[in-house]
């Protein structure tokens, strides 16, 4: 496996997001199992690579140097005879304070955890790539539909008698010519209701277009006929925007 060294030389620190990433790379390159590895085995490669890169990357290298210290400490400890375990513990305590050095077991645990993070990172990157290649569509504003419905809300406390009152007041204020035709045109409200329904058979119409002439009687007749038809659920009134035309259409049964 030592003839894979030239490969290692081509690697720069830039390619790794950190020392754990680099260490993982070295382990994977040697096809070692994290659970089994003797950390000492990859230490030499790690140090060699770090040395080569130090010249150009002093700023990013500090984290990599911390890891180098860790690896050296672990290697040194692995060379000590087992009988001085007590000394080993002592050594660990001494280093624990500045978090520089961890035990080989702890380093393996960190590597395993980091490997998991790396795998998930790759999955996230895949999802990100696919999702970036997709687009949705801007929603259609629902407010116009809401506005229509709000008519009910606006009129919640308005009953018919108040409508009549309002009409009366409006008619008093707006001077409308009394049309003599009206006298002749003694149309009843039921008659007018039938007429309106037939007018609406083909297409919705605006309220204004139902008026033949702006006579007071005509307005009152149409108005009452429309109200009656609404009450009987025969027609629907819609207003697309505030102060816009009132559209009337037949209620579909």
């Amino acid at each position: 496996m030592s003839d894979s060294f030239p490969l290692v030389y081509e690697v720069t620190l830039d390619a790794f997001s950190g020392p754990l990433d680099l260490l993982l790379h070295l382990i994977e390159q040697e096809e070692l199992d994290i659970h089994e590895i003797a950390i000492a085995k990859v230490t030499d490669q790690y140090l060699k690579l770090l040395q080569d890169s130090l010249g150009q990357h002093l700023d990013v290298a500090s984290d990599f140097i911390v890891m180098a210290a860790t690896l050296l400490a672990i290697k040194a400890r692995s060379l000590l005879p087992r009988s001085i375990d007590a000394f080993d513990e002592h050594l660990e305590d001494a280093y624990d304070e500045d978090d520089l050095v961890v035990s080989a077991t702890e380093l393996k645990e960190r590597l395993l955890e980091y490997r998991l993070i790396k795998q998930v990172t790759e999955l996230l990157q895949q999802h990100e790539g696919e999702h970036n290649d997709s687009v949705g569509r801007l929603p259609i504003p629902l407010t116009p539909y809401r506005e229509l419905l709000q008519v009910h809300d606006h009129l919640a406390d308005v009953d018919l008698s108040r409508m009549f009152q309002a009409l009366a007041t409006a008619l008093q204020r707006v001077a409308i010519e009394y049309n003599v035709d009206v006298v002749r045109d003694r149309e009843t409200i039921p008659q007018r209701m039938r007429k309106i329904e037939s007018q609406l058979r083909h297409a919705p119409r605006t309220l204004v277009s139902l008026l033949k002439s702006p006579s007071r009687r005509e307005i009152v007749t149409v108005f009452l006929a429309v109200l009656e038809l609404i009450k009987l659920n025969r027609i629907i009134c819609k207003q697309e925007e505030r102060f816009g035309d009132i559209w009337i259409e037949l209620q579909n049964k």
Binding site: L123, L124, G129, E130, R137
Partner: protein, 193 residues
Amino acid sequence: MDRTSEQVTTVQTTMAGPFHEHLLPYLEGLLFAAGTEGLTDRQIARVFDVSLDDVEPICLHLLAQQKAQGRIFEVRRIADAWQLITLPELFPYLQSLALAPPPSALSQAALETLAIIAYKQPITRLDIENIRGVKSERAIGTLMSRGLICEAGRAQGPGRPFLYETTRDVLDHFGLASMDELQRLFEQSLNQE
């Protein structure tokens, strides 16, 4: 257009009964209108007067129909809302008409940091740095400014450092259905070992 794969037929066997079939065009129409805002299970159940449990099978039924008809946009669940989005095959055409949004891929460092926060949240910067083995201030800054993570109170202990957690915008960024799906990515990776 041959996207009527086996996958579709398996979807169809688990779908809602044919009595919902007449709803599909209307469902697609509402999803069309809702656009990137999407529709939640609750909204769909309410509008069509079906039970909450019926919503997913109905949406999958629509998906199967869309695949069978070779539609180039499909219903997907993203961030707990069903929405219509285009398939990657359309992307080159979108680009040529300048309809594709500017790419917004995160750096490797930011992705890694996000994965750690998703796994361990809430977590302090120091703990993130311990896992990554590198300083992560900048990556955290990027993720914060993109609204993918947020502060979630402070940890006990010296200096009472900030804790970070992911936001729901993560689901939108990666096109994930739900927080559960995000968690499943970890399980998937753990099971690989």
